[in-house]
Amino acid sequence: MLAKRIIPCLDVDRGRVVKGVKFFDHVDAGDPIEQAIFYDRGHADELVFYDISASHEGRGIMAEVVRRVAEVVFMPITVGGGIRTLEDATALIQAGAEKVSVNSAAVKRPELIREISAKFGRCATVLGLDANRVKDGDGIERWRVFVNGGRVDTGVEVMAWVKEAQALGAGEIVLNVMNADGTQAGYDLEMTAAVSEAVTIPVVASGGAGSPEHMLRVLQEGKADAALAASIFHFRTYSVGQVKEYLAERGVPIRR
C-alpha cells in the first residue's frame, strides 16, 4: 500500500538553510548538507529544498547545494524557488533533483510547465503555489494565487490554476496556504481537500504544521497525499519518527 509521505522542507537562502515566520522574518540556522543527512537518517520520505532568495535575487548556488546533497543522501529530492526557464530546471535535475517545483514563473508563463514535462516527464514536474484567502471590495472570500514569495496577488483563482497546471503536464501539486504558513496553527484543511479532489495528481499540503495532529488531519480530512513541514522539524519540536509513530498508531499508512 502506498504510504502517505512526510516531507521536511528546507528553505535555502544563498546556500544556507533558514526558516521564516509568515514569509518575511528569516532566521539563519543551518547547513543544507548536514540537515539532509539528519533527515535521511530519520527516514523522511522526501526532502524539499526551496530557494527563497532566487525569486528576486538571482540564483545558481542551488544547483551546487543539490549536487552536494545528492552525493550523501539516497532519497528523493525536490527543488523549488526561482525556476524561470527550462534551462533552470535542467540544471537542477542534472545536479540530482528528482523533481523540480515551478511557482511564480509558471503563473506568468504557463508553457513552462509543458516544457519541463515534455523534457523530463510529468513525474519530475511539480507545480508549487502560494495560495491565500482574500476578500475583495464585495466582501466575498476568494482563493487566489500569489507570487514572488507571497508579495503579489496575481488575481488567478487557485482552483482554475491547479486544473490548468495538471492539463499542462504537472505531476504533483504543492499547495502552500499563506494564511497558515509559519503560524503552526494547522493546515488549511478546506482548501487542501478542495484542491486534492479537483485534480488526479498527488497533492502535498504545506503551511501551518505545528503538531502531528495537524498532519493527521490534513492527510485525512484534507485528503492530502503528503504533508510538508518546516519549523516543527527544523526546530526539533518533533522528529519525523515521532510524527510517523503518531500517524501509524491512528491507522495512516506510513513507512517506518
Binding site: 502506498l2 535521511d40 539516497f74 532519497m75 513525474c123 488526479t200 495528481i201 498527488p202
Partner: protein
Amino acid sequence: MLAILDYGMANLRSVQKAFEGLGHAARIITTPEEIQRTDHLVVPGVGAFRDAADVLFKTGAADAIREHVHAGRPLLGICLGLQLLFDVGHEDGTHAGLAILPGECVRFAVDAPPHQLKVPHMGWNSLAWTRDVPLFRGLQQGAYVYFVHSYHVVPKDLAIVAATAHYGEPFVAAVWKDNVTAVQFHPEKSQEVGATILKNFAEWRP
C-alpha cells in the same frame, strides 16, 4: 566491471554514488563498445518511453544491450529502464521497446472509478515477492521502496514477475528472468532498502 548506461535521460550520479558507497566501482558509459566490455550493466532512465527508445535504437545501444543479455551477462533495469525491456510502450502513442521480455507497458488506470487514485503513483510502497530471487536477499517482505511512475509493465509470461506492489490493484514492481532483472522503483532513492538491492545485484554471479 559494473557500468551504468548514460543515454541522456537522467542524472546518473545518484546511481553511481549508491554503488560506490557500497564498495562497488561503477563507470558511466555511453557507447555500444563500452556495453560490450561491461559485466554488470545497469540501464536506468526517467522521462518518456519514445524519446528513450529513440536514443537506444539510434546509438546502437539497443543491439548492444540485447547482445549483453544473450551473452548471459547480468542486467538491471531501473524504472524506464524496466519498461524499455518489453515489446511496446503505450506512452504518447505506441512505440517499440527492446523486446527482450515479452509484454507491454501501459498507463495506470486506477485514476478512474472505482479506485480514483492519484496518478503518477508517487511515493513509498511496500514490496511483496513470491520468488526467492537474489535481488531481495537480506530484506524483509513488505520492505518499502520509492516509486514515481504513471506507466507499469504487463508481462506476457507471469513467471518472470519477481515482486509486486499494490496500488488499487497489484502491479509488477520487479521482474527476474535468467540473467535479466529490472525494477519499477528507484533503488538509488530508496535509502537502506535500495542500497541492499543494488548490492545484491552488484554481487550476483549468474
